[in-house]
């Protein structure tokens, strides 16, 4: 093979490589849109007529770091009084993307549902829960929590589960304390256990 031929080939290889080679783009930071960093439970005491009594108060669970190994969420203890009835509303927030997820859950109420489990709701329940969402749907962003007059225990757990893409018409799924929620399909978007203390 002639040297000129060789040179021509090498040049061809180099040229084609320079023209056709492309670099990766510079990375762009992403805000995790799916992340839930703060969950707030707001309690408003109500009387037998459903009228508000006193000021609302709230308890939060937060996990600012998102997916990071080693960190655990900070969860406040829910303090409620014997024999009282509260309206409990849940708000869900993503502080990384600065988004209020409550609204999204409300918009997709046909795909979401909160379940309330844990020791506070079993046996002779300390707490009872009823859905009280606007439009009479079973969602759980708003609900009525009644504290027993003479609770057998003064502390318990309240597990709050947010199920996504479940079959809401599955038999039993309308029960807010449905322990076989998994049977209705779907997945958990939230699974937090709050300690509850009754005063």
């Amino acid at each position: 093979m002639k040297t000129t031929n060789k040179l021509y080939l090498i040049a061809l290889v180099l040229i084609s490589f320079t023209i056709l080679s492309c670099d990766s783009e510079d990375p762009v930071p992403e805000n995790d849109g799916e992340l839930i960093t703060d969950v707030t439970l707001t309690f408003q005491e109500i009387d037998v007529n459903g009228d508000e009594v006193g000021e609302p108060f709230d308890f939060t669970a937060s996990d600012t770091e998102g997916i990071e190994i080693g960190s655990t969420p900070e969860i406040e203890t829910v303090m409620l009084a014997k024999g009282k009835t509260y309206q409990m509303s849940i708000s869900v927030y993503n502080s990384v993307a600065g988004e209020d997820i409550t609204e999204e859950i409300s918009e997709e109420s046909d795909e979401h549902q909160f379940y309330f489990l844990g020791s506070a709701f079993v046996g002779t329940p300390i707490l009872t829960y009823e859905y009280d969402d606007e439009g009479g749907i079973n969602l759980g962003l708003k609900g009525i929590v009644k504290v027993d007059q003479s609770p057998t225990l003064n502390n318990a757990n309240m597990q709050i589960l947010l199920r996504h893409a479940l079959d809401k018409s599955y038999p039993g799924a309308t029960n807010p304390t449905f322990t076989d929620y998994a049977q209705a399909g779907g997945e958990s978007d939230l699974d937090i256990t709050f300690p509850v203390v009754i005063e």
Partner: protein
């Protein structure tokens, strides 16, 4: 049978076939190949002048002239369109054997056809192919499923539509898939990332089971899969091939149309165009539908080629586009969800049939373009140049909230340029070889706007390789050796928590192989190959940091991982008799610093719930095992076959097993031929039985135990009809005849569901 007995058997067979010599009982053995590409020549005529004895070479180019006394003989070899060879040989013992290379004289004789160029696999290692009738039977299946027909190959799958081929326990980045000569570069690291290739473009699919890093580059550690179209026509012709496959399960329809043509005006100009479309809906397991398991696929390939005596040019383009649904129930929110469904063993709902594909789903588009050229510098030297461009765009959609549902949560664009420049030489003096350089340049970008911190960073990779290999053939013996040096540079960049993280990594390695092939007798061949291989850690193994929804796991990479180094020794004994065909392969494959995903035993707790934590670690591994395949013709009507494989994969460091290694499996069947002896057209029925053992070599940790053993029965009827000059092939198959409920250890969705139930398929192929 364990490995020791396997080796012993090999040795017994080896020595048992040694022939003894007597005065007038000598024979001349040889092999006839094309000078320019070493392909065997079938039906060349051999004449021993003095003895007035002749022979015709078989399909492997081999011939034998028997019953010769000692003395000097003149051998003439003739083959149409090739220069005659006249050789004078002295026969004194029975060991005489020689390879003859015939030179093409096509262009000197006007009107004689030029044969199409096709680079056969020039390796001494174990090779198995899927072609002809077997390939026809596999039509409609994806690449992974089709390859299961080859012993030693199984699949690592995610549901029914995603199947990655596994060779001797290795998959993903440890094997290589070549689409018409170009190494397929997708996001092959992911367990749920199926190879982006349409099996309909192939006329032959070949599996090389040895370590072939020298020839094909790093990562060809466990083996290579070659998906090759037929060579382009070089004379005037026009052929169209139509395939239709319909299946009851998933109500699948698959259509393929291919047309090849050759030019009349310009000699040596040919083209091919091929396209296929596939649609299937929710798959049915015994008793229920798997929701959201549909597939939509649209593929296209085309090539144009020109070949003359000196020059050959081929341009090729292929497009693969697929959208596939991921089983609804496999997307779990947290560990508690995962445990619930594992305990249930199947989806909670019975589901219903639908073609709709919703989130979670994948959408993948893969473009591949190549330009290949060769030039015969002289009689024995050939220069080759090949350039390949690939763009892989992968989007994965998760079940999310609101507008995020429309956005992909993984959106990757991968550009790959490959350049290969090499020379082949073939000499009459029995030496042939290849020397070359190979360059790979790759750029990976996360398309912004997913709303998810990317699982892997953006990166640029450059790999340069320099290699040389030589083969010496003398009669029944072929010896081959090669060496390769590679240099690789990877630079990555990504944001984690608004913080830019970059890294620059360099790897280099030397790999080598030595192999040999010996024709013990015309129908018995033994080959052995020892090859080293390496693989640099993949970006996901280095930098993963995130949640894997299907596995309810947080996966963490390690930027300090080192390259894997492997040594594979593979031996194969092949017997091709009148009625019997036998193939026996045994291998030993130690790997230093084998990278795998190991459960840490820790959990990660978030507001979403609890997750298992896995991290990428390295350990010394030892893979070994064997495959066998055999068939026997009981009568002219009845044929039987048997094949199977055993793989062992031990973690030597802590004396345990690696996860997702195929369990022992076997496949046997009997076929009955209805056709008359005078009729060459297929007309037969085959009953086959697949037996898969429980994986008892389980790793210490798995989220669910290995599923029990299972047995499946399949029935297939194949008939060929002739309509005028055209051929019509009809096939009717019933897979999983008894609608058996089963789970396969190698299917990641065994946690969530049983496998597919009965499927009745109709396969029509018409050539006109």
């Amino acid at each position: 049978m364990n490995l020791k007995t396997g080796i012993l058997l090999t040795l017994i067979l080896l020595f048992g076939f040694k022939a003894n010599a007597q005065n007038c009982n000598f024979s001349i053995r040889g092999k006839i190949v094309h000078l320019e590409n070493n392909e065997p020549i079938e039906a060349a005529y051999v004449w021993v002048v003095e003895a007035e004895e002749g022979a015709v070479s078989d399909q492997n180019g081999n011939f034998t002239v028997k019953n010769l006394c000692s003395g000097t003989y003149t051998i003439t070899i003739q083959y149409l369109g090739h220069k005659d060879i006249r050789d004078i040989v002295k026969i004194e013992s029975n060991t005489f054997s020689k390879t003859y290379r015939l030179e093409d004289e096509a262009m000197e004789l006007s009107g004689v056809e030029i044969h199409g160029h096709r680079d056969a696999v020039q390796t001494t290692t174990a090779v198995s192919s899927l072609y002809g009738e077997n390939l026809l039977e596999s039509r409609g299946e994806n690449l992974g499923e089709s390859l299961k027909r080859i012993s030693g190959v199984s699949t690592f799958s995610t549901g029914n539509s995603i199947a990655k081929p596994v060779i001797h326990g290795m998959h993903s980045n440890r094997i290589m898939i070549m689409n018409n000569g170009i190494r397929l570069e997708g996001q092959q690291w992911g367990a749920e990332h199926a190879p982006e290739i349409d099996p309909f473009l192939a006329d032959e699919i070949t599996v090389i089971k040895g370590a072939e890093t020298v020839r094909y580059g790093p990562e060809a550690m466990g083996g290579v899969i070659l998906v090759n179209p037929a060579p382009l026509p070089t004379k005037k012709t026009s052929k169209t091939n139509l395939n239709f496959v319909g299946g009851t399960n998933g109500r699948m329809g698959n259509l393929n149309l291919a047309h090849v043509g050759g030019s009349d005006k310009i000699k040596g100009l040919g083209y091919r165009i091929q396209g296929s479309a596939k649609r299937s809906g929710n798959v049915k397991s015994p008793g229920y539908f798997q929701e959201n398991t549909g597939v939509n696929e649209l593929n296209l390939s085309t090539s144009l080629g020109y070949s003359s005596t000196k020059l050959g040019i081929e341009a090729y383009y292929s497009l693969f586009h697929s959208e596939l649904g991921i089983l609804k129930d496999s997307h779990t929110g947290n560990l508690s969800d995962l445990k619930d469904i594992i305990e249930n063993g199947r989806p909670f709902a019975d589901g219903e049939f639908s073609y709709d594909i919703v989130n979670p789903k994948q959408r993948v588009t893969h473009h591949l373009a190549k330009l290949k050229s060769h030039y015969h510098i002289s009689e024995s030297w050939k220069l080759n140049f090949q350039y390949g461009f690939q763009l892989n765009h992968r989007q994965e959609f998760d079940k999310r909230r609101g507008n995020l549902n429309k956005k992909a949560s993984l959106d990757l664009e991968l550009y790959t340029n490959t350049i290969d420049l090499y020379v082949n030489h073939t000499h009459k003096n029995e030496l042939s070889g290849t020397w070359g350089i190979s360059l790979i340049q790759q750029a990976n970008t996360n398309v912004p706007g997913t709303g998810v911190t990317p699982l892997i960073p953006n990166y640029d990779m450059v790999n340069a390789g320099l290699y040389a290999m030589e083969k010496f053939s003398k009669g029944p013996l072929e010896v081959e050796a090669g060496v390769r040096y590679d240099f690789r540079n990877v630079s990555t960049a990504r944001y984690i928590n608004q913080e830019l993280r970059t890294s620059d990594l360099a790897y280099q390695n030397l790999s080598a192989f030595i192999g040999g092939l010996y024709h013990i007798s015309p129908d018995l061949t033994f080959n052995s190959n020892l090859g080293s291989a390496w693989r640099s850690p993949n970006v996901n193994e280095l930098f993963s940091e995130g949640l894997h929804h299907g596995a309810a796991a947080v996966e963490i990479g390690d930027p300090d991982l080192e390259s894997e180094k492997s040594l594979k020794w593979i031996n194969e004994l092949q017997y091709d008799g009148q009625k019997t065909h036998l193939e026996f392969t045994a291998y030993l494959n130690p790997i230093r610093d084998y990278i795998y995903l190991n459960p840490t035993g820790e959990t990660y707790v978030s507001l979403r719930g609890t997750f298992n934590v896995y991290e990428y670690v390295q350990a010394n591994a030892f893979f070994y095992g064997f495959d066998f395949a055999g068939s026997y013709q009981f009568t002219t009507k009845i044929n039987g076959y048997l094949k199977g494989s055993i793989v062992q994969a031990k973690n030597i460091d802590n004396d345990s097993y690696f996860p997702f290694i195929p369990s022992n499996r076997m496949d046997w069947g009997v076929s009955y031929d209805f056709a008359k002896a005078s009729d060459s057209r297929t007309n037969k029925i085959t009953l086959s039985n697949v037996l898969v053992a429980r994986q008892n070599r389980e790793p210490d940790f798995d989220i669910a135990p290995a599923p029990p053993a299972y047995a499946l029965f399949n029935l297939a009827y194949q008939k060929q009809l002739t309509l005028g000059e055209n051929k019509l092939n009809l096939g009717l198959q019933v897979q999983n005849l008894f609608n058996t409920s089963y789970k396969d250890y190698m299917n990641r969705f065994r946690y969530f569901t049983y496998d597919m139930g009965r499927n009745v398929l109709l396969k029509i192929n018409y050539e006109f």
